[in-house]
């Protein structure tokens, strides 16, 4: 297990990767990526049991599904730095002929990705399917997924939420990134979500909350707690409050950086707030 300092260093480096990736192609989604950096770093380096290398079937290891595919920069950075593909390949993000498409896909054979996502609201169903396959296969590893809060406006999620509870899919931990923002503004302004945790509870899930999803130790503790609640007849939901754009002062407290790249000067400012730790790609 890496030390907390090593994980903190990785968080800073992943933030730099995210900023540099979207800056280079002047497109992509830095806000949600930065908000979920601690989650991804913890999940892939502290929580999940992973095999070396990549096999699509993923038998005998934990699996993760990203439903809100637009935060691909953080996903790609963490996958690369976990060894799924060369870190230098982050240079190709969103470029023609790249395996690092704007939204994650299996189509180009990028190791670490098991489903395409981008059109929202589909990831929970897929994760449930993978969890059911693990049960049939007698594989006691877990399925993890991440969803945006705005994404819960898609109705398919509620079909999946109902199914997972009704069928006791208890080898599954879904995390909701509660950052309160979406493209057109705050979720309260666009379409209020109400009490997300309570909604999952009344659907029959075991719900826990991470109050500060940008505090690495809280995230790790929350994920470990969630893990301990699996196998008890209920799917587990983590409602994780995060700050969109976390780690870059001018990207926080606003929805403006949902899908916008920083200028040259803005990149310089943002990187200065996150000094290089493990080496830029």
């Amino acid at each position: 297990m890496p030390s907390t300092q090593e994980l903190q260093d990785l968080v800073i480096q992943v933030r730099r990767d995210i900023l540099r990736m979207v800056h280079k192609v002047n497109s992509g989604h830095p806000g949600g990526s930065l908000g979920c950096t601690e989650f991804f770093v913890a999940l892939y380096n502290e929580i999940m049991e992973l095999k070396d290398g990549f096999n699509m079937d993923g038998n005998g290891e934990d699996l993760f599904f990203l439903s809100n595919g637009h935060i691909s920069p953080v996903f790609y950075s963490v996958l690369a730095r976990r060894g799924y593909f060369p870190i230098d390949e982050l240079n190709t993000f969103r470029l023609i002929d790249s395996r690092l498409q704007g939204h994650p896909t299996t189509h180009e054979g990028l190791p670490g990705v098991r489903i395409a996502s981008g059109s929202l609201g589909q990831g929970m169903s897929v994760a449930i399917g993978a969890a059911l396959a693990k049960k049939i296969n007698g594989d006691n590893h877990l399925i993890y997924s991440l969803h945006g809060d705005g994404e819960l406006q898609e109705g398919q999620n509620w079909e999946a939420i109902m199914y997972a509870a009704g069928n006791k899919v208890d080898n599954y931990i879904a995390t909701i990134d509660l950052n309160g923002q979406q493209i057109d503004g705050s979720t309260d302004d666009v379409l209020p979500l109400g009490d997300v945790a309570e909604k999952f509870r009344v659907f029959g899930w075991d719900v826990l909350e991470i109050e500060n999803g940008n505090d690495l130790e809280q995230v790790i503790a929350g994920l470990k707690e969630a893990k301990s609640r699996t196998g008890k007849g209920k799917p587990v939901c983590i409602v994780m409050t995060t700050m969109m754009g976390n780690g870059v002062d001018f990207m926080m407290h606003t929805h403006a950086w949902h899908g916008k790249a920083p200028s040259d000067e803005q990149l310089e400012t943002a990187l200065a707030q996150n000094p290089e730790t493990l080496g830029d790609y």
């Binding site: 079937d57 699996l63 489903i115 589909q122 169903s125 396959a133």
Partner: protein, 317 residues
């Protein structure tokens, strides 16, 4: 003309059910999902014999497609079951992103396709599904013609890696293909050799084409009849070899003339061997309530319509 004997009318959906029963016994990786239409899909035997490999999803087709995609991760071969309308139009984006673009080995099995769904009317009849599915890159599209062929197709698609759309129907129709005929995906079947016109048919219209060919023979017209059970990938070679001989073609399908088999054939002909063609298909319209026979008659999807199209296309040679 080659004689075909109706071994007794059966519904093609029961052919699917029989195929699933066999797969349940022979292929441990096959799993089935259904969105509250078990009885309609005829998969009760599969469920009874393999309860741990069946997932009742409820009335939630989008979730069903996603769960099916997820089940492939772990090596399962999921067969989803609901009506054709709810298997395609309702869940197009789920199929597009989570199955086709993600190259997942899901078999989308669609009952009650076309107008022969009958009395429930246009909300449940779909005449656009072949077009929707064939436009998805990597999707195989199959529309077998009778009970035996549907059963054989069900077995064949389990052996094929990749997403498949298997389309079949509700009414009892002639069962005339040999029970032991192997199903080769993408391989057209020559049912009757002829020299004056090629009739290329799929699904329920294949039997109607054989009746039409027999009637035409009595009028001195030699019709070649090809059963295209696989609309994608299309057997271009079989089509071209036939039309080079006959010089004109009628396509017949229980589907809109936009987006169906006929258009796929037209593309092949326009590219390789321009040939006069007539379309037996619905004419960009929704269906309506009625018995299957009444509807096939009203919408021009029977042997009489095929005969008329043959006479018309032969004049255009």
């Amino acid at each position: 003309m080659t004689k075909y004997i109706d071994q007794g009318k059966q519904d093609t959906r029961s052919g699917f059910g029989a195929g699933m029963t066999e797969l349940g016994r022979t292929n441990p990786n096959v799993v089935a999902l259904c969105a509250d239409l078990v009885g309609s899909l005829k998969i009760q035997t599969f469920i009874d014999e393999n309860p741990e490999r069946f997932f009742q999803i409820g009335i939630a087709e989008a979730n069903m497609m996603g769960i099916a995609a997820g089940l492939t991760i772990g090596g399962k071969i999921p067969f989803t079951g609901t009506f054709a309308n709810f298997s395609t139009g309702r869940v197009y984006d789920q199929i597009r992103q989570s199955i086709a673009y993600s190259d997942k080995n899901v078999k989308i099995c669609a009952s009650h396709a076309g107008i022969t769904l009958g009395e429930d009317g246009a909300t449940h009849q779909i005449l656009e599904d072949i077009g929707l599915m064939k436009m998805l890159p990597g999707m195989t599209v199959i529309n077998p013609c009778d009970f035996n062929q549907t059963k054989a197709a069900t077995l064949a698609i389990a052996e094929h890696h990749g997403p498949v759309y298997l389309r079949f129907g509700r009414p009892k129709v002639a069962n005339f293909t040999p029970a032991d005929q192997k199903f080769e995906i993408g391989k057209a079947l020559m049912l009757n050799e002829g020299t004056d016109v090629t009739i290329i048919a799929t699904g329920h219209l294949v039997w109607q084409s054989l009746i039409a060919a027999e009637n035409l023979e009595n009028q001195g017209i030699s019709a070649e009849v090809i059963n295209i059970h696989t609309i994608k990938p299309l057997d271009n070679e079989a089509i071209l070899a036939s039309v080079k001989k006959t010089g004109c073609v009628v396509t017949a399908e229980e589907h809109n003339y936009l987006g169906g088999l006929g258009e796929s054939v037209s593309r092949v002909l326009a590219t390789h061997h321009p040939t006069p063609q007539e379309f037996v298909a619905t004419q960009d319209t929704f269906g309506e309530s009625g018995t299957p026979d009444q509807l096939m008659d009203k919408y021009g999807l029977n042997n009489k319509a095929i005969e008329a199209a043959v006479l018309k296309v032969m004049k255009r040679k």
